[in-house]
Amino acid sequence: MGKVIQISPITRIEGHAKIAIHLDDRGDVRDTFLHITSLRGFEKFVEGRPAEEIPRIVTRICGICPWMHHLAASKAVDAAFGVTPPPAGSLLREICQLLAHISDKILHFFFLAAPDFVLGPDADYSVRNVMGIVKAAPDLAARIVKMRQLGQMMLERFAGRAIHPVAGVVGGFSRPMLEQERQELLRDAGTLLDFSCYALDFAKDTVFAKYMDVFQEMGTITTGFLGTVDRTSGALRLYDGRQRLMKADGSCTNFEGDSYTDHIGEHVEAWSFGKMPYAKSWQEGFSLDPAAPAGIYRANTLARINVCDGISTPRAQAALEEFRMAFGRPAQQTILYHYARLIELIYVCERVMELLQRPEVTDTRIRAEAGPKAGRGVGIVEAPRGTLIHDYTTDRNGCITKANLIVGTTHNIAPMHMSVKQAATSLIRGGVYDQGILNRIEMAVRAYDP
């Protein structure tokens, strides 16, 4: 028996996970495991609760993307109770979702992932972090801190809370948008759009040019992709649309959210609390072997950018065209998650400005009256980390009897596991490794933004 290297915990990600790399006697990689170590059991303890309370309970699944859970649950409970929010209600929800995407993308790219690029993957661990960026590039640091905060404060000003929100309610939204607020939000969204264009340029210079090779030598995996697109145009959508599952060869099937169980299965391995969704409808089973994967698809930014037919806003569309010219469709390299993330950042800024200019956004009819009912509802939104599915069944009193949740990150657990295996196998040979190599293996995980 060879030794086991434990990367514990994986750092600069959201959540609790570790990597175990098992070496054989020669010091080559025999096997690797991505252990997801946390499990809180939301699917079970929401049972019995009044459904209208669920959107403000499930936010605690993730403090980085609470808005996504808040809104997916709101949509699911709407459907279970058979109510449709008035147009302004849906608009306000989507605006909040977009604002939350903005802060999240800045957080992920600049606070969590960028230290590897700005300071280098081999920099000492004590400086390879956002505090290190504060010291090494104070102007950049001041700007990113300010921009992320701006996104959070826009949410807080309008919706009361940025973290663990409450303003999305069954039937719509809890408060209307005032004209003055609309103008302020529009102004601030403009500032963020400028920043997001800068961010993509910055990354093209400092990240993709330099680090494509680093990622290349870690090996690649080839998978399908899952995302959400507009029902008519096939354009990228985050709040509403239909789901599109793409095979590695580029062929696609579309489906409506409430039939997700026909397309997606959830597989469990004994070494991880994270369930691994897979494409059941491909009827090829489930295999994590990087050489012959089965049922494996990816979600999150790169997936969305791959499955969509286009983007409905001009600057993001231009960036998408450039991206496709360079990397084709579907693009498979894991590092391109970062690239796709920044294209999406431009899209969300543009889209938020577009929505804020719709006349009905300040309408005061924001919530349809709902009554407790027996029913079932599936609510899907695109979270920063992937397609987020909330599925609830209610009883006569409108209390939850059954819940199934597929959280964005989980779609990528199987692919992350495979990427880790690829990276470890190609980077560790004959028992030779150091901190820099182990960090590169973690970078494969960080690209997915788990």
């Binding site: 170590t37 303890f45 609760r49 209208e52 972090n129 505090m131 801190v145 169980t261 469990v268 960090n439």
Partner: protein, 314 residues
Amino acid sequence: MAVRAVLEWLNSCSGCEIAILNIGEALIPLVSEHLDIVHAPILMDHKCLGQCGEGSEIEIPEADIGIVSGGVANTEHLEVLLAMREKCRLLIALGTCATHGGIPALMNGQGLGEGIKGVFATSGTDPCSVPDVGVPAALDRVYACDEKVRIDLFLPGCPPNPALIAEVLTAVAQGRDPVQPGKSVCDTCQVLREGKGAVSKVRRFLVNADYNAEEPVQRMRCLLEQGFMCMGPVTAAGCAAAGLPPSCIRVGVPCRGCFGPVRRDGNQMLDMMNALASNGIDFKSVVDRRSLLRFSGAHGLLRQIRTRPVRERG
């Protein structure tokens, strides 16, 4: 001299950590001058099992202050918490999960073990057993941190208010006692209160409260007086941003108690039910009253209800 700080998260959602980041620009001088963060999984790469993965026991560096978020639900959380206690001079429980169990302690109402089994038996999941290889084993229930180790400072909130986090960190760095609110959410709520009124039942939040968003919140009638369940009376103050009403009330949504009980060892369900009963409001109109403990189900307050045994007579 900067104080050495370590951050850890247990059965948590990372919202507490985001709340720290939401201190905003004031964070930059805090981390570059006052605090020397030497371990914080969300932000930096110090590992618990050695930088090259060679260690076998959890190792946390010595520090002046330790900040821990999340409750304790498995053996790994417990090990990390014990290591934190051993290495930190001052240990701060950050967030309601750490101080009172938080939302994950809702699991205590059905039993942690049972619940976990249920999670892996949902209809969408392929048949499997509960994972047990390389993943930590669950404890018997979800605990608040002070049930397992001594905690020096409690900073509740789900998430805590960034301004209060900043106050606590600055105070600790300056070696003084932090100023923390000691009242209830209602005490910080500026809505219009007209007295008990004619409320005889509490309603579910299925329609919006009656208010005009163009007017200041001082013109909105208290939500409890409008007949909605609002937990302001039995919840610790602290969520309101300076000068503003409590953060849910501000957008017309009733309080659900996320800062935990007003007195640290209070019981939010009991206090709320008592407040209703003493005011002649039919307590049976509360649907699912156990979820009044949704933020504070640790400390043995939320328990599994089983069908009662028939006891032998005589």
